[in-house]
Symmetry: C2
Subunit: 158 residues, 2 copies
């Protein structure tokens, strides 16, 4: 049995992503219902709007990569009016991402894919973008929570 050294394994990258998604889920949960949809700072989007973007990127983006079907970016969660709807969709996406991930091969990560018909990059760059963009917006959510007097979760707890 010969194992080739890897910077990160495919399995560990999924764990890393889902760990971040789990933390974002806890941030959504911590928002008071009203503030999730209404609170913002400096003219930025509400955390509901940011979450809607994250939902439109994660599972749909990965589905495009796996099926090699170029679909335009589409935010469906913008119509949700309760946190419960967001959390339900979040959990469905978690399962969908796990399923899709199993259909990826190591070779896929270096292939180029035109994500949402707009971002023509190697698949690994697209996936890292999904994760980074979520961390970025969740960091903004942390400030919203602090401004609301709510203690956010520890960043290193996944």
């Amino acid at each position: 049995m010969f194992a080739t050294a890897q910077v990160i394994s495919q399995e560990d990258l999924l764990k890393h992503w889902q760990g971040h998604r789990n933390l974002t889920r806890r941030v959504i949960e911590l928002f008071p219902e009203k503030d999730f949809f209404e609170f913002s700072i400096g003219g930025m989007r509400t955390f509901a709007q940011l979450t809607s973007e994250l939902l439109a990127i994660g599972a749909p983006g990965l589905k495009g990569i796996v099926t090699r079907q170029v679909e335009p970016f589409k935010e469906e969660a913008v119509k949700f009016t309760t946190k419960a709807e967001f959390l339900k969709k979040w959990d469905e996406s978690t399962a969908e991402i796990n399923d899709l991930w199993e259909q990826l091969s190591m070779e896929d990560f270096s292939d180029t894919f035109n994500l949402f018909g707009q971002y023509e990059f190697p698949v690994i760059q697209n996936i890292l973008y999904f994760i980074d963009n979520e961390i970025h917006h969740r960091g903004q959510g942390y400030v919203y929570l602090r401004a609301l007097g709510i203690q956010p979760p520890f960043f290193w707890e996944r």
Copy 2:
């Protein structure tokens, strides 16, 4: 010549990290001198304090990993009183990270290292933490800039 498929190459992970570091540098530059040291929201740290943390993690953390010397976490930039000092240190760290990275082998990434004598994890997890933590805090910096009426850089520009 036989190339083994990789989720991400060592070279690309460095490019990814330095791309993020370059974006953070631009965020530092955009802060008005006074606000960099004084502005905050909800009792959080100023962007100078957050930057000080990032400087204490990136190059020093990687140095510990490469030399396998366990050193305690130490924020030296807290004593800086000008943005220029921060930016100078930032650029020195950029060069240091590039040099240290060349001393890493693929096999190192799966080795366990006790970072700062506190975080005993595989090296890849430590490095991803460096990047994620920077994105997280920079996301907070974006909110500070917006609250100050300043347009932050586009997230996808590196």
